[in-house]
Amino acid sequence: MTDILKRESLLKSVVLLRILIGWHFLYEGVIKLFNPDWTSFGYLATAQGPFKSVFIALTNEATMGPVDTLNTLVLIFVGVTLILGIFEKWGAIAGMGLLALYYFAHPPFPWLEQQNVEGSYWFVNKNLIEIAALWILVQIPTGSYFGLNFLLKKESETIKTPQS
């Protein structure tokens, strides 16, 4: 009984984590979607660290547009899947990928000058922590506890057991 309770409370906290991260991604995505002037040019063009040249290469005229669009769409995809609790594993993995890109564009390595940061970081920053949090979401899917997956699961169970 205690075990189940523990499980229940664990599930609840993971759901909360999932919704908060989803909220964060969705809001960022929607803001970008409705701001035609938004671009990641500045962020990429000032990239630092081992992958600097890769990020700077993305800023050329041909790639800048698709890069911005893709970034917005992935942000929204992650937000929607995590909030609704469907395909959340895919959402979490995509989110981790996106955050890893953000992390490596401006990595908080002590030998690099820290640009545009609101706190003090040494290897670990909020992007890295959010990556770790998403990894938990990949490990503990909660869409069938709270989310669209709950309905889908219930429906398939209903079909299997028509008597109930």
Binding site: L26, Y27, V30, F34, T39, F41, L84, N116, T158
Partner: protein
Amino acid sequence: MKWTRRDILKGLGGLPILGTVWWAGTANALIKSKDRSEILEQLQIEPSLPSALPEIGGEPIRIGIIGFGIRGEQLCRALGFATKEWIEQMKEEERLNGNTQLREFLDQEKLNLKITGVCDIFDVRAENVIASFSTPENKVKRFSTHQEMIRSGEVDAVIIATPDHWHAPMAIEALNNGVHAYVEKPMTHTVEETYSLREAAKNSKAHLMVGHQHRQTLSFKTASDIIDKKVLGHVSVVQTFTNRNDDNGAWNYDIHEKASEQTIDWDLFLGSAPKIPFNKNHFFRWRKWWAYGSGLSGDLLTHDYDRLNCVLNMGIPKYITASGGIYTHNDGRNVPDVLQVNMDFPDFSTGSTQVKGKEKGMTFTYNATLGNGFNRPTILMGHDASMELGNNLTIWPDGGSTKYAEMIEEGKMKPNVPIYHYNPGANVPDAVSSATSQYFADKGLMWTYIDGVRVNSTYLHLREWLSAIRNGGTLSCGIKEGFDEAITAHMTGLAYKLGRRIEWDHQEERIVPIEGINFDEILLSSV
């Protein structure tokens, strides 16, 4: 299948959250974008695009280089000619620290010209030009004097990158012989020469361009539009600065190991300057002495003055006062290394939004030190807004503005939040820029771009001159601009040296005489 209320809650509980976040994001983005369009609509600023120039067709223009020192080399690179040493050095730097200068040089569009002659009184430099720029079809010829080169019939145009005291004599000689001239700043070394050169330019069909390449910077053209649209209101103060703190910035350039009386034509270097024995220090570091250069007032103030003259078109100041001294590099130089200059334009205005007659007049200050490198930006301070002007451009509304009072009241504008930011490197101008984009803008994405390619403004300046040579057309820094710049520099030098206020008479077009004082003697004197 039967769903309880609990099922619905658990299954669809995310939907209202999704809806709320989506709505909040949309609303915020739209409000911001509406505010921004409202501001932009009010400002009506048109960000500048590079002007298209007609092609430089026909036979390649034959260029003669006079002076292949530090600036001469830079000008040649802008023309598309780099020395072998420089290319090797840049390859090394590219390997070591990812320096992209070489790639940019190679990507630069080729101009239709060839270097046919060189004139440098230091053998090493002249030979370097011949060795680096000669081709099997075109061997660069060395001339021992500029007269010889100009009159040889082998050059169509010359580039003058010599010490200041040679600028005017060479430019005049070129123009009188119908040879086009690109002369480095300051355009002249004395007041008298400034008039003579203007006369020569007026009487010649050849094109004279003064080397203020920043006139090609897109942000300055945009700034011009901003002033025309009266975005700033009446500008009462403009502050400009030079901040340098290194040997190169203090004009202590390297002295070449092969420099000697055998390799340098010392008499020719001196020209009109006082005769003194051979002195390597004077030869390589000539900017430090009034006899050949003009220190901060001619070398660096002219940049800032012309930058603003190109935006405001304010012309020569009515009054100039100046003070300063040799405070950071007391090494035998006689030009000041700290200088404060106040230029007054009592009748100038960029447009007023207040009651008529209330505002008129502007003070332009230039404050320079060669003993500190802290970056102080150029600021134009108007009644309605302030503008920071560099390669980027940012405008802040003023808390006491008349023009924007309503928008400030409604919270649509805030005095500490920029209402306009122009970064020619970014793909769009950002009206209400966030702290983040502001930060990145300040961080140094500071180049002029054409179709996404980073372009050197000296290249654009030279190209404009070459295009005018072939196709005609007006120059962005011709004799009028050069005259304003040179007179202002000389008035500053005089104000500093005499410790007196120097006045310009706009009607008579002359510096108001001071009894018993010969201005040019003062300018050339060593104290």
